[in-house]
Amino acid sequence: MYSFDRVRILVIEDNQPMLDICRTLLLTFGVGEVLTARNGEEGFKIACKENPDIIIADWMMEPTDGISMTRRVRKDSFSPNHYVPIILMTGFSEKKRVVQARDAGVTEFLVKPFTARDLYKRIAQIIERPRQFVRSEEFFGPDRRRKADAVFNGPFKRESDVAAMAAQNIRKKEASLELDKLRKESGLSKTDKIGDIGIKRVDTKTLDMNKASEIDFDIDFK
C-alpha cells in the first residue's frame, strides 16, 4: 500500500472552503504535510521555500492564476524544481482550455467538481506513469504527447521523429525485399504483376491493436 507520510503537497486555491476540502482529502489519503496558499503569487513563494513533491493549483485566481504560476515554476530561475508535478484544478473541460493548460506545462488536469477517486487517480498517475520532460525552443514541460499513435499520419514536428520515420522506411524496405523473395520462390520476375496488394481500410479510431486480423494486409496472388 502507498505510504504518503513523507510526501508534501502544496495546494493553491483562493476559495477557502475548496482549499479545506482538498486539504481534508489529502490528509485522509495519508499525506504527511499539506501546505496551502491563496493565490499563484503566494503559492510560488511557498514552492520556492518549501520545495513540495506535488503542487495542486486552481486555475482562476487573483492576482496570479494557476497557469502563470505553472509557467513560473517551470521557467523561473528561483524555482527549486522545474520538474515538480503540477495538477491544475478547474471547472473548464473544453478542449481549447485543456490545450492552454497543457501548453503552460501542467502535468495533470483535474476537472471540478471531482470525486476523491478522481484526485487520487491523478496523483497515482504522477507516481506510476511520470511524464518525460521536453525542452524545445518555445516549450518546456511534461511531454504533451500522451500516447504513441501506431497509425499516426500527421506531420512530424520533432527532429527525433525523423529518426523514427527513417526506421519505418527501413522496415518498409525489408518488407519489399521479402516480397521479392516470395516472387522469386513463386517463379515470378520483378516485372510480373503480383496482383492487388489490398490494404484493408480500417477505422483507426476503433482499431484494436491487439487484434492482428484488423491490422494485417490482404495479399492476393493472382
Partner: protein, 176 residues
C-alpha cells in the same frame, strides 16, 4: 516519398531535448496504491461536508450579473473577449463548485451555460436573453436550496434551457 513526408505542413522541425527526471515520489510512497477503504472514507468526507455554498454562489452570481450589465451597455473600449470572460468565468466557478458542495444541479446548469458561452461569437440581445435565463435559473436553485440533481423538476429546467439554446442557434443559422 511516404504520406507523412509529403504532408502539407512544412513547418521547420523543432529541436527537442528529452529528460526523465528521477521519480523521487515513487521511492517515497512505495507500491500498491490506496485501499478502497481509504478512498471510500475520503469520498464520504467530501459528500458530507457541511459548507454552506449559498454565500459563494451569490458572490459568483453577482459577478456574472455585473458582466451581463457590462454586455447590455457595452463601452466602446471593451473588447468582445473581455466582455464574454466577465460572464463566463463566474459561470465556470458555479459549475466547478456547485457539485463540490452538494449542488449538482447548479453544476449541470452552469455546464450547459459554459458550453453555450464558449461557442457564441458575440453577445447580441438574443444571447443576452439566454444568459439571463441561465442566471435566473441558477439563482432560483440557490435560493430554493435545491441540493442534488433536483429530480424531475431539475431535469425539466435543464431541458428548457437546452431547447432555448437550440432555438438561438437555429435562428442564427436562418439569419445567415
Amino acid at each position: 516519398m511516404t504520406d507523412t513526408e509529403d504532408h502539407y505542413n512544412m513547418q521547420p522541425r523543432r529541436k527537442a531535448e528529452f529528460y526523465n527526471p528521477p521519480n523521487h515520489l515513487k521511492l517515497k510512497v512505495g507500491n500498491g496504491g490506496l485501499t478502497e477503504n481509504i478512498l471510500n472514507k475520503a469520498q464520504a468526507l467530501l459528500e458530507n461536508n457541511s459548507v454552506d455554498f449559498t454565500p459563494l454562489a451569490e458572490m459568483y452570481l453577482d459577478a456574472m450579473m455585473k458582466g451581463i450589465e457590462q454586455a447590455r451597455t457595452p463601452s466602446p473600449d471593451l473588447n468582445k473577449d473581455t466582455m464574454i470572460a466577465a460572464i463566463l468565468f463566474p459561470g465556470m466557478q458555479l459549475k466547478a463548485n456547485g457539485g463540490m458542495f452538494q449542488y449538482q444541479l447548479v453544476t449541470q446548469i452552469a455546464d450547459r451555460f459554459i458550453q453555450f458561452i464558449e461557442v457564441i461569437d458575440t453577445i447580441d440581445p438574443d444571447a443576452l436573453e439566454i444568459i439571463i435565463a441561465f442566471h435566473t435559473t441558477i439563482r432560483a436553485v440557490i435560493l430554493g436550496r435545491i441540493k442534488g440533481d433536483g429530480g424531475k423538476r431539475g431535469e425539466e429546467l435543464i431541458t428548457a434551457l437546452i431547447e432555448a439554446c437550440h432555438r438561438y442557434f437555429e435562428k442564427k443559422q436562418q439569419t445567415r
